[in-house]
Every structure is written in C-alpha cells, then in structure tokens.
Symmetry: C2
Subunit: 228 residues, 2 copies
C-alpha cells in the first residue's frame, strides 16, 4: 500500500483532504503541528478525525511558533478579528504552511512516501499567500531539489486536492466520502470543548459553505444566529 503524509489540522479542509487520500488507496500518515495556537481543541479534533477516517497513524509534533509571534493565532496580545478585513488578515501565521510542509517533507522522506496532502484552498479562503496554487507549485519544485529521495529519482508530489474548490464543493465532496464534520473544529478561537465562536473569518466561511452546499451545519456555535 503506498503511503501518504497528510497535514491534518483538525479543521474541515484537512479532514476532507484525508478522506480524498484514503479514497485513492493511500495508507495515511497524519501530521499535526502543536504550534501554540489559540485553538488547541483543533488538535483534539485532528486525533478524532484521523481515527474516524482510518488513518494508519497520527503524530502531533510540538514547535513553539509563539516564540516568534506575529499572528493573532500565536500572540495572545493580538485579537482575532470578528469582521472581514482588507488584505491579508492578522490571523495569518508567518510561514506556517511552509513550516508544516517542510516537516511533512522530512517525514515523507523517512517513510519512503512520495505524496504529501494539504487541505489548502484558494477560493473561499482568508487571503493567505501560502494557500495559492503558485506557492504550492514553488514548494514542490523546491522539495524536489531538497531531498535525497528526489535527487535519487523519487519525485515528491504536493497534493492540494481542494485548492480550486469552493467551501460548498469541499463539504459536498467530503460528505460523499463519509466525513463526519461534527468531529472537526475550524474556529480560530474555539473553546476547550470545541464550541466555535461563530464570528471569526473561519467560522463565517465554514457556515456559509454548509448553507451553499445545502447541507445541515453540525457545528456547535456560541453565536446564536448560526446555531440550528
């Protein structure tokens, strides 16, 4: 069985990416990053999602990005915005996807895996530069010069199956593949029980996705307007 490394945050997108990798017949080695994020209930969600979707393995690696700060997700002094902003929002974590893909690359090389799945999405997204297809292509090119396996002819593929899908399309795809979205947590400031704020960018995009997909939103929101 060919192996894939799946970056699993515990959110909706990466759960769907895992389901897609499983549907393609990969043995899935899931990797989560404990980087000191506000929403640590995401990490517990990642564990539940990995188990529910039949991952072969799930590892959480700790790396204190709070040492650098610079984001509402890694610096408690910066508030999570509840209104859409112009440009790249303060929830952007500097170089986060680059760091996570680099770790996935290291693990893939050790496992002998040539496929790395990431739930990056450039349609209904928050404007993060490291979710765009041109970024992902550049990472893949770099990865194929970086590693011993690539130099020896075993090319690495960065797989972003959601990159061109709308949030509604992602939810429909995942639902068809049996993803239980009630296990996932997308909110930037979910409480310890995984209850979502219903106000941040991530909650808004998620809820709007369910509405557009005409699928009932199983998320538990603190914000009464979004609860069903």
């Amino acid at each position: 069985m060919k192996k894939a490394v799946i970056l699993l945050s515990g959110g909706l997108d990466s759960a769907t990416a895992l389901a897609i990798a499983r549907s393609e017949g990969f043995a899935c080695h899931c990797l989560s990053l404990d980087y000191g994020q506000r929403h640590s209930s995401e990490l517990e969600a990642a564990q539940r999602v990995a188990a529910a979707l039949g991952a072969s393995e799930h590892r959480t690696i700790k790396l204190e990005l709070t040492a650098f700060g610079g984001s509402a997700l890694t610096d408690r002094e910066i508030a999570v915005p509840t209104q859409p902003s112009e440009g790249i929002p303060v929830t952007y974590v500097p170089a986060r996807n680059t760091i996570m893909l680099s770790l996935a690359l290291a693990w893939a090389e050790v496992l002998g895996s040539r496929d790395i799945f990431i739930g990056a999405n450039a349609v209904d997204y928050s404007g993060y530069p490291d979710c765009r297809p041109e970024y992902l292509e550049a990472f893949e090119k770099m990865a194929n010069l970086a590693t011993k396996s690539a130099v020896e002819g075993r090319a690495i593929h960065i797989r972003a199956p959601l990159v061109a899908l709308s949030k509604a399309e992602i939810i429909r795809r995942g639902t068809a593949l049996g993803v239980d979205y009630s296990l996932t947590v997308s909110c930037y400031q979910a409480d310890e029980n995984g209850v979502a704020c219903g106000r941040c960018d991530s909650c808004r995009l998620r809820h709007q996705g369910f509405v557009s997909a005409e699928i009932s939103d199983p998320t538990r929101y603190l914000h009464p307007d979004l609860s069903e």
Copy 2:
C-alpha cells in the same frame, strides 16, 4: 540598522556566515535548532559564537526531529560513519535545511527582515542535496510566494555567501573577519566538552580546510593524528 536572520549551528561555516553578515552592517538575529542532534555541544558553541561575534540576539528553538529519525544524527541506532561513503551519506537529515530556512523565514517576517543567511556550502561538503545553489534558489522563489511581506513587495533574500567557497577559503575569510574558530564545533559526534572525534566526514573536511588554508587548526580532537 537593517536586520538579518542567521541560521547558526555552532559549526565553522555558520559562524563565518554570521561574521560576513556583521561585516555588511546587519543587526544579526541568530537562530539555532535543537532537533535532538547527537552533537548538542554544537548548540552551546552557537551561543558562544553569537556572543563573540556581536549578534543582537540568539534564540534556540526546539523541534524533535528524532520523532521522524532517518539519519545518523537523529537516530542513535544509525552509527556515524568514519569512512567516506558513496552518494549522500547517512548523516543527511531529511529536509533539515528546508525546515531551518522555513523557521528563519517565519522569524524574518515577524522581525521585518528581508535577509536570511545560511552557511550552506557546495564545494568541500558532504553531498547533501539541500546545500546546492539550485536548491537555495528554489527556496528563495518559494519564500517570495509564501509570505505576506513578499506579497506586499518586500522580497526575501536567501544569502549563502559560502556556497561557492572551498573550506580553506571559508577559513581564510572568517579568520580575516576575526572569527575565533576554537569556539566552533563541527564534529557530528563531539563529546559534551566539544572535543571532536577527528574521524567523521565533518572533522575530516574541517581539518583539511585548515591544512589547505595554512592556518593552525585550533580544534580539540580525540583522534591523536589530527591534534597539533
């Protein structure tokens, strides 16, 4: 004063890269990675080197690459070779430079720095793929698509001033800039006091560099043939 992030391992090359960045007038923010390497005396060396060369700051970030293994430097079951090998040696750590440059990229973005220095060298080196100029160029391209600052027009430069120098040229350059190489540790399996084995690839390349540069080698070696 413009800021640079310097990847500092505690070895000879990165100490020289720091000295070069200082000579160009950068305020130097040094980053070391505690990845569970065998040679933790390198990390103590990094601290001494940063202080001696007038770095503005030195941070060590912990990341257990031993969780992945796959290298003689991160897996105690794999011995450090004492004879040159064909191809890429087992001391290669999967994706190490990619991970370290990614962390440097994150910090550079938070600091508002546009220059990242790495002591990578492709002449007298161990055959690691992630030390080659084509790899470093691909990383820079990727970095300039990855970050908010790059998207906003502040390009990132990956600076590898040693990439085309021989070990002897590096040592001459550093000596001219006042680097005290007795503070540095290159050995893959130095003991806790920083005494080098004198047998591994890294020791051999280092010692040969001093011989070729006709500069006295200040390294303390366990191997009697190399001690002076």
